[in-house]
Amino acid sequence: MHFEESSLTLRVRPNDLDTLGHVNNATTLEYLEAGRWAWLERQGLTRGGTVVAVVSRVEVDYRREIPPGDVVVHTELESPAADELEEDGLNYRARFRQRVFLAADGPVAVEALVSVAFLDARERSLASLQQFLAAARAPAAPVEDPRP
């Protein structure tokens, strides 16, 4: 199984800035989360399935301050590697490597490793990455017509 790296451009909002005039460290976590949603979209995976991803660990290195302007969030699945991820195998953890750049050709400002696990939303029990992918690839359930 192979997944493409994703790239998401975001505009820094005025309320993202702290008293020093740069993006607050906690706000960067929101940028990273948006980057992971973009990664899912890039793979054609949909949200709202019965199995959901939850963050289990975040490691962040802040390299440079982020001033007002655009940032670009790059997201790639680091683990399991392509040869460790098989449709009929089992994986309970995935780790993303993410980088936030200052503009498209700018230097890296933030590097992060984000681990996620998967939960069956109904059972509230751990699920596998394979179950998550199956649920995220399934066509959305049709919306019932509310008319009588």
Binding site: S56, R57, E86, D88, G89, L90, N91, Y92, R93, S115, A117, S125, L126, S128
Partner: protein, 98 residues
């Protein structure tokens, strides 16, 4: 096809590798899963534990063509019982083919 003793030896070895403990540490004291997580420097929570079991399961599938379904296990389950669950799965003829 390996016999049951070889399979048990393989599962013990893989368990130990994947949780980052020696076989002796893991099985001599028959650690509970909660104690195992605490003892292992490589594990933080039950996600890490399930990943370790999954890696063992994936190894059995790749090396022997045996499929293991992982049951839900409470954290007070002793590791000997986990081993018994794995052995029950790999020696069940209806579940052998991967």
């Amino acid at each position: 096809m390996p016999d049951a003793q070889e399979l048990e030896s393989y599962i013990r070895r893989k368990f130990a590798e994947n949780v980052g403990l020696t076989e002796e540490e893991l099985f001599a004291e028959d650690l509970s899963l909660a104690a195992l997580i605490t003892r292992s420097e490589r594990m933080t929570n039950s996600v890490d534990l399930m990943e370790a079991f999954a890696r063992t399961s994936n190894g059995l599938r790749k090396d022997f063509g045996l499929r293991v379904r992982l049951p839900a296990l409470s954290l007070d389950t002793p590791v000997s019982q986990v081993l018994a669950v794995f052995m029950g799965e790999v020696t069940d003829p209806e579940r052998k083919s991967a």
